[in-house]
Amino acid sequence: MSAAALAQVPVVAPDDHHARLRGVTRIFGPRNGTGVHALGPVDLDLRRGEFFSVVGPSGCGKSTLLDVLAGLSFPTAGTAEFEGKPITGVPAGVGVVFQEDASFPWLSVEDNVAFGLRRSGVDGAEIARRVDYALGFMGLKAFAKAYPAQLSGGMRQRVCIARTLVMQPRLILLDEPFGALDQQTRLLMGDELLRLWRETSATVLLITHALDEAAMLSDRVGVMSARPGLFIDVLDTGWPRDRDSRIVSHPRFGELTAHLWEKLRAESLKHLRGS
């Protein structure tokens, strides 16, 4: 089956969209046909307050999709919108957590978390309140004065999540944030992420290569093809809002994961064989 034979599934929700991509295509290098066609054309509507995951084989343009929504990179063709306005740079109200450790090694944990607030003119008492809350929420209170070098990889990632959380973003973009962590830590971080999402009512877009993670955390999962990345399926998980990692023992969890793998297996093979 070739990529061209795959029908693109438009992931659209006409009435209720928080962020919207239409025909978004990204080609790296020259446009005369010799460039690398990484992504698209992709149509995607993120509903306000939903938890949406994107899974796909390595190199399918998942991160490119996130970069476009974050305003870090611009589509070669198509349009990107956030809250009804075209994305022309990093929009206000968007927070991003990357796979790599992005904590600032020269700042203590609490100064890391307060970093964004301090430069946005929020008053001191409010900063202290929000930082204190985020540290407690992320289980970092005992390490408030520690430096990132003294923390494990999982805790540094929590620092980065807390630093994003205190800014109260309306759209949180997560680029494989648990990719470098061990399986147990990933499940627990997933729980924290769900708790965070419930409390903030933010829209969440999670890029991941872990099918179980996507099946457990999401309201909807978009499955992408091998390069050039297109949505080939979108799956409604039907989980209640107050779910946690214990749903992995629910029979539907297995069904969802199996369904995702069925969709992805052929695509992953393509990547493996380099075609």
Binding site: A70, L72, G89, V90, A92, V94, G95, V96, F98, E100, D101, A102, F104, P105, W106, L107, F115, G116, R119, Y147, P148, A149
Partner: protein
């Protein structure tokens, strides 16, 4: 302090180091005292120390000491400031950088001191020429450290700066500079060391003041006592300054990840 902490691995190394130094100093003292080493060649360390105390108390060399140290400070400051600036500019101009980098790499193969006549012609005999030579000796270490430091800023931190919607100036001050600081400090340490070498060595050949000049003057007048006292002064001063810089360096390095 708990007794156990006197015997941890790092303090053990420290005690061993002190023992090696004390052993070497003691051996020299003994060799001088029993006549293996004639006093006309090397003085016993205790006499060097006594001489140092005398010459500091008498104030006979106060001006030389002040001149040398202020020249070292000025040269190090200029080397660090200019070296950082040149490093930052080179980093911003990749084409120029790749053209210039091989020259920087082989720079320390050139014996900078041979240019001293040029500096006498340019600045005359005195502090100007000395500082120029010391800066020339020290600056490339700072340029190299700056390039290395800026290279090592993780790309994800630059991305984070964009997510925080920072302008170029704020990004440079709040992200790039602190991220590169541990590497920049390596340049500072080297610059201070080179500034010392540059200033003291230049004072032997193109000065009428300074500790280097005073050592040469004492040597020419068979004044072993003052000569060794002044040498001890420089050794102690350099050790003290380097220990201080090392402590700051270790704190900065400890914050680096992995």
């Amino acid at each position: 302090m708990a007794l156990a902490s006197l015997f941890t691995a790092s303090t053990y190394a420290m005690w061993l180091r002190l023992a090696v130094i004390a052993g070497a100093v003691g051996a020299l003292e003994l060799a001088c005292r029993i006549g293996w080493v004639p006093m006309t060649i090397v003085l016993p360390p205790s006499v060097m120390a006594a001489s140092l105390v005398e010459l500091l108390a008498s104030g006979a060399y106060s001006r030389d000491i002040l001149v040398s140290f202020s020249n070292v400070a000025l040269a190090a400051l200029l080397a660090v400031g200019l070296g950082f600036l040149i490093g930052a500019i080179l980093h911003a101009l990749p084409a120029v950088r790749s053209a210039v980098e091989p020259l920087l790499a082989s720079y320390y193969a050139v014996p900078t001191f041979m240019f001293y006549p040029v500096f006498i012609i340019l600045f005359g005999v005195g502090s100007g020429a000395i500082i120029a030579i010391a800066v020339l000796l020290a600056i490339v270490a700072m340029i190299t450290a700056t390039l290395n430091g800026v290279d090592r800023i993780p790309p994800v931190l630059s991305k984070t700066a964009r997510i925080f919607r920072m302008g170029p100036v704020e990004r440079a001050l709040k992200i790039s500079l602190p991220a590169a600081l541990p590497y920049l400090f390596t340049g500072v340490k080297l610059s201070v060391a080179y500034a010392f070498i540059g200033v003291i060595a230049s004072e032997f050949i193109l000065s009428g003041a300074g500790i280097g000049y005073a050592i040469a003057y004492a040597y020419n007048n068979f004044n072993n006592r003052s000569m060794y006292g002044l040498m001890l002064l420089i050794v102690l001063a350099v050790t003290l300054i380097n220990t201080g810089l090392d402590m700051i360096d270790r704190r900065l390095q400890a914050r680096l990840r992995r």
